[in-house]
């Protein structure tokens, strides 16, 4: 527990900034909905007639005039990208920052096993992801109530669950990468998150590369699919969870034997 507490303390500023920024943008988006809803007759046609751009963001299958449609696109992008960046960043630096910051010599000359270091650091990353999602969900629900809309529980919870799984998947992959790195890890984490996001946009634009949806976790976070189907696509989630598990396994194997510089 000592390392978990230490990691949470060390990461509290980053956690507060990312959680605050995502929650703030989500609340702003929700608060904009009543105005958008009123102007829907004007903007609906515009949103649905932007060609590939419309398809890329799934706006061809969602009704912007409903809270679920609006939330799935606007809030989904904020939570999807923001959450992905935070999870990737927290995970990719978790192990590598000790060598980069030259604190590994302090940490690893205490009577703790490498496995314990890995386990507690992973737990700290996951706890931060859980806490961020709980806080954001609570604020999001609060803001929906505030604008006088009825909460579409099923859709909202499914969307948030999908984004939570996306963050866990990216965290698992980036945690594995972290074990191999000694320097400059944050760029890699942010790059992976951004690349996964773009892969999904490309997969949305053309059917020829639909297989990409099984690679990128944004594939199972597609708001249009979740709202339309009323369920998550487990065929896309399972490969993602396996990737995350592989990342975590790689972290244990690599970091357990790594020569610490």
């Amino acid at each position: 527990m000592t390392i978990i507490k230490h990691e949470l303390k060390q990461g509290r500023l980053s956690f507060a900034v990312w959680t605050g920024a995502i929650a703030f943008l989500l609340v702003i988006c929700v608060c904009l909905f009543p105005e958008i809803k009123g102007e829907m007759s004007d903007v609906g046609d515009i949103f649905s007639s932007m060609g590939s751009f419309t398809e890329a963001f799934g706006m061809d299958r969602l009704n912007f005039g409903t809270l679920t449609g609006f939330y799935a696109v606007e809030c989904g992008n904020v939570l999807g990208l923001g959450g992905a960046f935070f999870a990737s960043l927290a995970a990719v630096t978790a192990l590598s920052k000790e060598e980069k910051g030259r604190t590994a010599e302090f940490l690893l000359t205490h009577p703790i096993s490498r496995n314990r270091v890995i386990t507690e650091k992973l737990a700290a990353v996951m706890l931060q992801i859980v806490a961020m999602n709980v806080l954001i969900l609570a604020l999001s629900l609060g803001s929906i109530v505030m604008i006088g809309e009825e909460i579409p529980w099923k859709e909202i919870l499914l969307l948030h669950l999908a984004y939570f799984l996306l963050q866990v998947e990216l965290a698992g992959i980036c945690f594995g990468i972290s074990a191999f790195l000694r320097k400059g890890s944050s760029g890699i984490g942010l790059g992976i998150a951004a690349m996964m996001y773009v892969l999904n946009l490309i997969a949305n634009m053309t059917d020829r590369v639909e297989f990409l949806k099984y690679i990128t976790p944004f594939g199972y976070c597609e708001g249009a699919d979740i709202v339309t189907d009323g369920k998550l696509n487990f065929a896309r989630i399972v490969p993602g969870i396996l990737l995350a598990a592989a990342g975590i396994f790689a972290a244990y194997v690599k970091y357990g034997r790594k020569d610490i510089q």
């Binding site: 030259r102 010599e105 703790i112």
Partner: protein, 293 residues
């Protein structure tokens, strides 16, 4: 029981040599010096002993426990002072000390307070605002606060002012007298000479001498200082020759009779022949690779 025992300990970083066939024995309660310049393999030996890097071949144990299989048990009894003390940004000294104690599952509050007082370290300061020397003090307290049975000190006095160095070695002597084993790695030979009973000299990853400090200093080589003139050109065994206005000094490891004969042919007003200090002996080992003494 031996506090540290290494047998043919070898570490390669890929093809690059770290240490080769290092065999050492440090007895419990001993203060053992480990001498060598930067890059000789001192830190690699220490890092291997502490399990931070894996060994390529050989075997090592601390208090009879294998360094690979019983790393945590070993580290529970070891206090390590790194050559460069780096801590987590934003933490206060007291938080670092508490973190170190918590990682050991010990309550070290009173020991830490006592050490902070002796080393004049303010526990309320932030570590990233501390000077190099004060960060070193934090590392010293981390290494000592849990009363370890073995102290592994890597270049311990770098950054400490002379008064603090004196206080530090006072603390180390006390711990040693209470039974703790001390493994002192340094390139400052006077530190080893003053504080250690035995020492090993490491050169390019190999141990080239291991003996009591007294025996290491016993060498046929002598420091010769003369006032006057003498013709030493072409003479075997003369090294480190320095001429000054009215004389010269040099290290001599050849036949003494031959030296006296040559000097008697010159014009000598004064002469002193002394044992060289450890620093000079160290250079001797380095130049000769330990082949001759």
């Amino acid at each position: 029981m031996d506090a540290i025992r290494t047998e043919l300990l070898t570490k390669y970083y890929g093809k690059a040599r770290g240490i080769e066939n290092v065999s050492l024995t440090v007895k419990e309660g001993e203060c053992f010096g480990f001498i060598g310049p930067n890059g000789a393999g001192k830190s690699t030996t220490i890092r291997t002993l502490l399990g931070m890097i894996s060994l390529t071949s050989g075997h090592a144990s601390i208090f009879g426990m294998d360094i690979q299989r019983e790393r945590e048990k070993i580290l529970n009894r070891v206090g390590y002072l790194p050559s460069e003390a780096v801590f987590y940004d934003g933490m206060r000294v007291r938080d670092v000390l508490k973190l170190s104690a918590d990682l050991r599952k010990r309550d070290c509050k009173s020991a830490a307070a006592g050490l902070c007082q002796r080393l004049q370290l303010d526990p309320s300061r932030k570590v990233d605002e501390l000077s190099f020397g004060n960060r070193k003090k934090v590392a010293i307290v981390c290494a000592l606060q849990h009363n370890p049975d073995l102290l592994i000190l890597d270049e311990p006095t770098s950054g400490l002012d002379p008064l603090m160095q004196k206080e530090f070695f006072e603390v180390i002597r006390e711990r040693n007298q209470e039974g703790a084993t001390v493994f002192l790695s340094s390139h400052i030979l006077s530190e080893i000479q003053r504080n250690c009973n035995r020492a090993a000299i490491i050169r390019e990853g190999n141990i080239i001498a291991c003996n009591s400090v007294e025996n290491l200093a016993k060498t046929k080589t002598r420091r010769v200082s003369i006032h006057g003139k003498a013709e030493l050109e072409g003479m075997d065994g003369v090294r480190d020759l320095h001429n000054f206005v009215d004389g010269m000094h040099f290290l001599y490891s050849g036949d003494v009779n031959r030296l006296l004969s040559v000097l008697s042919q010159g014009n000598i007003q004064d002469i002193s022949i002394t044992e060289p200090d450890l620093e000079e002996i160290f250079l001797h080992y380095y130049e000769k690779g330990g082949a001759s003494r």
